[in-house]
Symmetry: C2
DNA sequence: AGGAATTTGTGCGTATGTATC
DNA sequence: AGATACATACGCACAAATTCC
């Protein structure tokens, strides 16, 4: 099992299992083979497998029952397994898409809280939709230490996928502050009927090394949309 | 290292370190001894110590740097280390206290979402304060499967401590839904000036076995208070 | 600049405890 | 009560990152 210059073995196993769940090869409620058997099939040690399974548990995809077995727990959304937070329609669900409005790089304005290790940051403004309907405005400040430049065409639908694949940045932890706020100038009109007051979530995220990576604000109409955060 | 009928060793170590941080015996930025030395001092194996340290990392209290060392990262709030979520004054901080208004046990009303394994639930209503000032109303529905009866005098300041110590219930995961709502009848007047609309967080929590344990609603004045959730 | 020493990360194997079936 | 299966704990070897000289 030599595996230099690739991801750690337990990460490979964990991601393989996540793919199996996403693809429907492992179904909700299904029981996995005993750890020793499974480790034997995969040609890895029990300890390594256990580390991969602990990862799935942390993501809420697995339930481990001592004396019983390991059971797949497929969350409501398999697509956004990596997502710690999501927007959803009050009615429930909604297909999420995101449209990048602008990207800019500048020295951090004074009204931002302290985060990251650089004086500069990339500002990403997005309009997020659910089932095609405008649902929220988002302004993300990514610390300048991860990349020098950022272009609109770099950004795929999933920011976190881009962060991970292109910048080597993995978001490990986040803190949300929930309150109300007024619609920013640049977003006026984009959310439909103008409201005096919108739901506002301010978020700071941290990377795999414990450094704060992003500060972001998300404005949304609380009559149409809910903001869901998954904690552990 | 026999340790029957007490908490696992790695949990004991983790909690000891958290107490050390809270008490100021370990300061922000401080570097811990090498793992092997530390394990030797504590008379435990390196693997066990590593599990405790992983726990601190997950809580955002430690930064581990390969080839360098383990560094204390003291969050803004040392007191509520166990908390996944907290209320704070917009100005920042505030000493949290909670006053139980009522406890009742009944079959679950229809307007609750599906959670837990029992048909009955305990309803706990609390008034939460910050620096003595009324900050939020809270209605918690605890699934009936954890205990038959619940009395006001059972409940300590920290519900989660009570859950763990008396009910064997450890909250492992939670999901918050953020929106707006109107003040419930039973709480009118308690939050001071009547508002048309309050911040509302609906929360479902899961126990160590992956069963949903609680459903709760928290109402708060978004002009005075912010709701903070810590994700991982 | 570069190599050695230090320190954490990964992976393996094993023994024993404890919950479930 | 016995078998099964996960949980905890120990120890070792080597890899990778950092630091120091």
């Amino acid at each position: 099992m030599a595996q230099t210059q690739s991801l750690p073995l337990f990460v490979q196993i964990s991601e393989m299992l996540i793919r199996d769940i996403s693809a429907g090869r492992l179904l909700d409620g299904e029981r996995l083979p005993p750890e020793r058997d499974m480790a034997g099939q995969l040609q890895i040690s029990v300890g390594t497998l256990r580390k991969a399974l602990a990862d799935l548990t942390a993501k809420g995809l697995l339930e481990r029952r001592q004396g019983s077995g390991n059971y797949i727990r497929q969350g409501s959304d398999t697509a956004s397994v990596y997502a710690l937070f999501r927007l959803e329609l009050i009615a429930g669900g909604g297909l999420p898409t995101a449209q990048v409005l602008s990207v800019a790089t500048m020295t951090k304005p004074d009204d931002l809280p302290a985060f990251g290790r650089s004086d500069v940051a990339h500002r990403i403004r997005r309009l997020r939709r659910l089932n095609g309907q405008a649902a929220a405005l988002e302004e993300i400040w990514l610390d300048g230490s991860y990349t020098k430049a950022l272009r609109v065409e770099d950004l795929s639908e999933s920011l976190y996928l881009f962060y991970r694949r292109n910048l080597g940045l993995r978001v490990q932890r986040a803190e949300d502050r929930i309150g109300m706020g007024v619609c920013p100038d640049w977003g006026s009109g984009l959310l439909g009927a103008d409201k005096e007051s919108l739901g506002l979530v301010e978020r700071v995220t941290w990377d795999q090394d414990g450094h704060s990576a992003e500060f972001s604000r998300t404005w949304f109409d609380t009559d149409k949309v809910r903001y869901v955060s998954r904690l552990r």
